[in-house]
């Protein structure tokens, strides 16, 4: 009888044990199947891509948290935590030709520098994910190995590369075409006024101020400004007028010195060239503006050219020039400064006109032909915008989601 009671007690304990354990919240968590960690494609090796299937239990009241571990340090570092219904392949910002953006899988890009600090590509790492609900772990993935690597090609930028290649082909076609016959270029009033401005300076016996702005030689607008300076200083040399070029950047000054010297040489007036035509003022924005303003106020030039990269000093310079009574011609590609030049100057070159100015003034067929490439580029953009609006509107109306995505991806910068 006692034996039977003991047997029954043992059986009861064995069967009730797991039930009690569950009641105490100590049930073994489930497994997240299909969890993978691979190198993030198209990057320099600074991130890893974690993927696992979207499960039926993924709801808004649950969350995923990912962990990473490096062999060097050991232990798990907590990464990103997010709602279980979020972060699918659709949320990865890559185009259709480089990425399958279905919603059947979770996808998370882990920035290694954020999680582990500065680690080189190829470092062996481990990752795992946990599904949390009401503070307890409901499921956990096995720890998987991963290592990032430096990739060789940004496939996501393929659209950009193709556009560039088309531009290069058109560029060479236009240049070779220019050798055979001339091309029509529309008049740019601001550039036509350069002769008038220099002539006025010659008649008045006053100097011309050419301000190349506060850009460095790596700024396209400063490079364009240097080309314009070449043509302006050639005319100044022909008219035997005086030009002053205050500089913000010493490298720009060095390049401009060579350009002006060459222009005087080409104009047949090397004797008129002086080294102090180009001079350094300051590498500080407002010191530069104050100094140039002072010179303009004192010397009352006949003409002021503001060509290049300008920020807040644009109005400080142009307004003082306007008050001094000078003819003012400005040009910049900083659109936030264009309104100031419009209001304070007689003529303003808008962005692309600044780039075109050197070719326009020099009238060299090879350079002029390159302007046609700019026109072609604008034509492509205009056609793309018009067609894109129609196609995306049509696709949205007809619920052709993939079609809309294709169109939007084609014209997006990655």
């Amino acid at each position: 009888m006692t034996k039977n009671k003991i047997k029954a007690l043992i059986i009861l304990l064995l069967t009730a044990g797991p039930v009690l354990a569950v009641a105490g919240g100590k049930a073994a968590p489930g497994t997240i199947d299909g969890f993978t960690a691979v190198d993030m494609p198209y990057d320099a090796g600074a991130s890893v891509l974690l993927k696992w299937p979207v499960g039926p239990s993924d709801s808004a009241d649950a969350s995923y948290v990912v962990y990473g571990s490096s062999l060097a340090e050991g232990g798990w570092r907590k990464g990103e935590e997010f709602v279980a219904t979020a972060k699918t392949c659709k949320d990865i910002n890559l185009p259709f030709w480089a990425w399958d953006s279905g919603e059947a899988q979770h996808a998370l890009k882990v920035e290694l520098n954020t999680l582990f600090g500065d680690i080189p590509p190829g470092t062996p790492l481990k990752f795992k994910a946990q599904l949390l609900r009401k503070g307890s772990v409901e499921a956990e993935s096995p720890a998987v190995d991963a290592a990032s690597k430096s990739n060789w090609f940004r496939l996501d930028r393929l659209n950009n590369l193709l556009f560039l290649l088309v531009m290069i082909v058109i560029f060479f076609w236009a240049v070779s075409h220019a050798k055979r016959k001339g091309l029509f270029i529309r008049r740019i009033a601001g550039l036509d006024a350069i002769d008038e401005a220099i002539g006025r300076a010659t008649e008045m016996g006053k100097p011309i101020f050419y301000v190349p702005g506060i850009g460095t030689m790596s700024s396209i607008s400063t490079i364009a400004s240097a080309f314009i300076l070449g043509e302006v200083s050639k005319k100044v040399a022909q008219y035997d007028s005086d030009i002053k070029i205050p500089h913000y950047d010493p490298i720009v000054m060095t390049v401009c010195k060579e350009i002006v010297k060459q222009s005087y040489l080409e104009a047949g007036r090397p004797d008129s060239y002086r080294e102090d035509m180009n001079f350094f003022v300051s590498a500080d924005q407002f010191s530069y503006a104050a100094s140039v303003d002072g010179m303009i106020s004192r010397e009352k030039p006949a003409a002021c050219f503001f060509m290049g990269y300008f920020m807040a000093e644009s109005l400080l310079l142009a307004e003082v020039g306007a008050a001094s009574g000078a003819i003012q011609i400005a040009g910049t590609d900083i659109e936030s400064q264009l309104p100031f030049f419009f209001t304070a100057c007689d003529y303003t070159l808008i962005g692309e006109e600044l780039y075109a100015a050197g070719a326009y003034l020099s009238k060299e067929p090879m350079l002029v032909s390159a302007l046609k490439v700019q026109d072609f580029g604008k034509l492509v953009v205009m056609a793309s915008v018009s067609l894109g609006i129609v196609l995306v509107s049509l696709g949205t109306k007809l619920h052709w989601d993939f079609f809309v995505r294709v169109i939007l991806n084609l014209f997006k910068a990655y």
Binding site: Y42, D43, A44, G45, S150, W152, F153, R154, N160, L161, L164, M167, I168, F171, T216, S218, I220, I223, A226, F227, G230, D249, P250, I251, M253, T254, E258, I259, K261, Q262, D276, F279, F280, A283, F286, S287, A289, G294, R298, E299, A312, L315, L316, E319, E335, F340, T343, A344, G351, E352, Y355, G358, M366, L367, A370, V373, Q374, G377, K378, V381
Partner: protein, 222 residues
């Protein structure tokens, strides 16, 4: 000689330019390292060029003082300003604060450099008013459109303007804030984007001209 003066520099420009273009499409570490190396070189060249600029600055102002040119007294302030910053910087090893105390360099920065820079920046406010006055003189249809847009913007930004709008045009159901929002988001952005697209394409073409040696004025002609 032409080979050294022309062909080699052009080849360097082309190879360096093409590698920079390629680095946009190649994310590999070699590519990243190359761009970083170029940036370092640029900084080093800039540092040396700065000395060149300093020599040019001192030389031109020395000439003005020597010739007693108009306003030569201002040239003295170039040297005074230079010494007022450089001497404290050398005395304090370039530190503006030591143990929570402002050094002489910190003092110069705060009470000379910052004060002067702020003054110049503040002058902008007065220039904006005089520029606005000039541009608001309606001489053409374009100037009229500019005036109307600017007037609505100014009106909407001050409480009095909003009160005037509500009492005069409140019946339209459109608040002045909505009109401002529309002006800033639709015509202003459209114009801005048009300019930006032109600039972007112009920049690409200018870069191609330099990379492929079509534009080589910066090296002089034969």
């Amino acid at each position: 000689m032409k080979f050294i003066k022309k062909q080699i520099p052009l080849a360097i420009v082309m190879v360096t330019g093409l590698l920079m273009v390629a680095s946009y499409y190649i994310p590999h570490k070699y590519s990243v390292d190359y761009v970083e190396l170029m940036n370092k070189w640029e900084n080093i060249v800039s540092a040396f060029a700065f000395l060149l600029g300093l020599v040019s600055l001192f030389y031109s102002h020395y000439g003005k003082i020597k010739r007693k040119a108009d306003g030569w007294g201002y040239s003295l302030f170039v040297y005074i300003g230079f010494l007022a910053m450089v001497v404290p910087a050398m005395m304090t090893d370039g530190r503006q604060m030591v143990d929570g105390q402002v050094t002489s360099l910190g003092w110069s920065f705060r009470y000379i450099y910052n004060a002067l820079s702020s003054t110049m920046f503040a002058v902008l406010a007065f220039y904006i008013v005089s520029t606005a006055y000039r541009s608001f003189r309606i001489k053409s249809r374009q100037a009229f459109v500019l005036f109307v847009a600017a007037f609505v913007l100014i009106l909407g930004k001050v409480p009095l303007g909003q009160m005037i709008w509500d009492s005069l045009l409140g019946w339209t159901g459109q608040g002045v804030a909505d009109i401002i929002e529309w002006i800033m988001q639709v015509p202003a952005v459209a114009g801005k984007r048009g300019i930006m697209i032109g600039i972007a394409i112009g920049a690409i073409v200018t870069s191609l001209k330099i990379i492929f040696g079509i534009e080589k004025q910066y090296m002089g002609k034969d």
